[in-house]
């Protein structure tokens, strides 16, 4: 099957839906409005329908973009934008309830909302963030700043399915992860820099950041913008979303940090990529290789970008389209600090357009453990950060120009020409100590949040009550459905003799296995069939008596009513 996409298809469908709604509204208002007004509205609406229908037909026949049709196209675009935004929000809410009802995975595809306005996108993002929290309260809003715990000994290099984890970003700096490969998948913490310029969310060339799990073509786990935010999902075409937009992952808490340069970082705690998700993605990609074309928008038409079947070509094309210019090829588990420096000490470029891939120097820093924490050490951050309740803007990040009296090392090399970072020396000691100092407090906070204890009850709002009531209704429905599923599953319970003593089992087995010559059945089977038949007859008689009784009662009531009327 070859799947092709035409832009006008969507527009025609959207417009027809709008017209249908308008027409239905006019017709339904006939009961309450003045007949003359309705008649005029119907005439005007009919003419509009005819005109737009002809326009759509002409657009479809000539494959011309309807946006190019002057003022009519402008009106159409406006209406379409409204419809798209409303529909996008509805889809988010629908998926939210689906998620809560069936406890399924989040599957909102960022590409679905690529046409949304910026303000609507922010709304969608807030909704999505809300969805992803356990319970009904967005706990993440109570944590203003978090620092992930650094445990270098837990970092492993993935070699079974993947060839390392790569943070593929145009600006490869500012990424950190602490992931382990478990029996069920990949788990840990991810922090990465969210890349985009300005507020234009529509141009994928200005914003691209995704995490590439593995380099093998058959296990190409690509999690675009792992933070489940839709803003940095790159846009190529709908096919891209279909093949790479579906991924299953879980996480507990996501938080966005903004530094003084207005650069966003996302920190994800308890990230879990399950194996079945990887299989899903892999299967989806296999499907894409074999049966779908890669399309690229050239002018107003989509053209085939490459042929199928060659995974390497596909990967190259994909990467070229994204314009990936920087790639950390592998991860050296021996020096975890290589990946945390720009994120947590606020290293920023003076020229974002040539933001370099800044790495920490290869100095022999010892991995910082809990036992190394000096509680009296005062780091770069203020004590307010430890409470986790201060605003990010007030405290993060600090200037790297501060002289802390620690180890001063030379600035790292850069791999993108010779950019001017404006930073000559970087002091790591105080920063790392401070991160470690903050760790315990934040861990406690997270534990409290996860356990649902000691939450400030004053944070409840009136809408929370209604949300909670809806969630309870959904939970009850889900409980009921689950219970029915359990009862249905009872049918498949196999016979089990583990609870019976051996002597009993021997006797029963003798009854079951000893066949009677005349009947060619065992004694156990004969008894079982006879009792089953007797039970069915008995129940049938009871049901018959019950049904007859109900019918007689109904008949008596109807007779009484008839007599009383007379």
């Amino acid at each position: 099957m070859i799947y092709t996409i035409k832009r006008n298809d969507k527009k025609i469908v959207s417009m027809m839906l709008i017209l249908l709604i308008v027409f239905t509204s006019i017709v339904s208002s006939y009961e309450v409005a003045n007949a003359e007004i309705v008649t005029i509205s119907l005439v005007v609406g009919g003419l509009a329908l005819i005109g737009l229908g002809g326009l759509l037909a002409y657009s479809s026949a000539t494959n011309q973009d309807i946006d190019d049709f002057g003022p009519v196209g402008d009106i159409f675009s406006t209406v379409k934008d409204i419809q798209t935004n409303v529909w996008g929000l509805l889809k988010v809410e629908t998926k939210y309830f689906y998620y809560k009802l069936f406890n399924g995975v989040e599957s909102v595809e960022p590409g679905e909302f690529s046409d949304l306005d910026t303000s609507i996108k922010d709304e969608v993002i807030s909704n999505v963030n809300y969805v992803n929290q356990e319970g009904y309260i967005d706990y993440s809003t109570q944590i203003k700043y978090e620092v992930p715990k650094i445990q270098s000994e837990t970092v492993k290099e993935f070699t079974t399915e993947t060839n390392g984890i790569n943070f593929v970003q145009p600006y490869a700096s500012g990424s950190y992860y602490d992931l382990t490969e478990t029996s069920t998948g990949i788990e840990g913490i991810i922090a990465y820099r969210e890349i985009y310029n300005g507020t234009d969310y529509g141009d994928f060339n200005t914003k691209r950041s995704y995490i590439d799990f593995g380099t093998k073509s058959d296990s190409f786990y690509k999690l675009n913008n792992v933070g489940f935010s839709i803003t940095t999902k790159s846009y190529i075409n709908d096919f891209y979303y279909k093949s790479y937009g579906d991924y299953y992952y879980e996480y507990n808490i996501e938080h966005t940090l903004v530094n003084s340069q207005s650069e966003k970082y996302k920190v994800i705690f308890n990230f879990i990529l399950r194996d079945d998700s990887a299989d899903f993605i892999r299967n989806d990609i296999d499907y894409a290789y074999g049966s779908m074309k890669i399309l690229q928008l050239v002018g107003s038409e989509y053209v085939e970008l490459s042929t199928n079947g060659d995974s390497s070509t596909w990967d190259d094309d994909f990467r070229n389209n994204l314009g990936v210019t920087a790639n950390i090829p592998s991860f050296d588990a021996s020096n975890v600090f290589d990946y945390i420096d720009p994120l947590f000490i606020g290293v920023t470029s003076t020229n974002p357009s040539v933001c370099p891939d800044i790495k920490a120097p290869s100095i022999p820093l010892e991995p910082l453990l809990d036992t190394d924490i000096d509680s009296n050490d005062v780091g770069l951050y203020s004590d307010d950060i430890v409470t986790g309740l201060e605003t990010v803007e007030d405290t993060f990040p600090v200037s790297v120009d501060n002289d802390l009296g620690g180890i001063v090392v030379e600035a790292p090399d850069t791999n993108v020409g010779e950019p001017d970072t404006g930073i000559d020396t970087i002091d790591y000691t105080g920063v790392l100590n401070d991160i470690a100092n903050n760790t315990t407090s934040i861990e406690e906070q997270l534990q409290q949040l996860n356990q649902g204890t000691e939450i400030d009850l004053n944070n409840y709002n009136i809408p929370d009550l209604f949300k909670l009531l809806i969630l309870i209704l959904i939970a009850l429905l889900k409980f009921f459905v689950t219970f029915v599923a359990l009862v249905i599953a009872f049918r498949g319970i196999p016979p089990d003799s583990s609870l019976l003593p051996d002597e009993t089992i021997q006797v029963l087995e003798w009854f079951k296995n000893t066949s009677l010559p005349s009947f060619n059945m065992s004694m156990s089977q004969i008894i079982s069939y006879l009792v089953a038949i007797l039970l069915v007859f008995r129940v049938a008689r009871l049901l018959k008596r019950h049904i007859v009784g109900v019918a007689e009662n109904t008949h008596r009531r109807s007779l009484k009513k008839t007599k009383s009327k007379k």
């Binding site: 406890n103 009862v487 089977q525």
Partner: protein, 110 residues
């Protein structure tokens, strides 16, 4: 005006307590649902260990044989379905759906 502040404080406290209780109720439902889901998964995976109910049902099936087991199971499903039907009918009789719809309809269509 302290009495007024106190009244509002009490109202607020009652609201918070009610939301907290509902939250606990919701968590309990979710917990029980998870238990049922895990039981269902265990049954489908053939894991009997630690599931007394499943082991009991398995033992019952072992003793009585498949014919009686299927009759019992069918009767259970019939009873469950009839109970659901009775609950739905009860709710339908208790909630005047037609009058509510009529009232709403009357707001717009006169």
């Amino acid at each position: 005006m302290d009495w007024l502040v106190e009244i509002f404080d009490q109202i607020k406290e009652a609201f918070i307590l009610s939301v907290d209780s509902l939250n606990s109720f919701y968590n309990n439902i979710e917990s029980q649902t998870d238990t049922l889901i895990s039981m269902t998964d265990n049954i489908q995976n053939g894991t009997m260990e630690g599931l007394n109910i499943v082991q009991f049902i398995g033992t019952f099936r072992y003793i009585v044989g498949d014919p009686i087991w299927y009759v019992f199971y069918s009767l259970t499903m019939l009873g469950l379905g009839y109970t659901i039907y009775a609950i739905v009918v009860l709710i339908k009789n208790e909630i005047p759906v037609s009058s509510i719809v009529g009232n709403i309809k009357g707001l717009f269509l006169k």
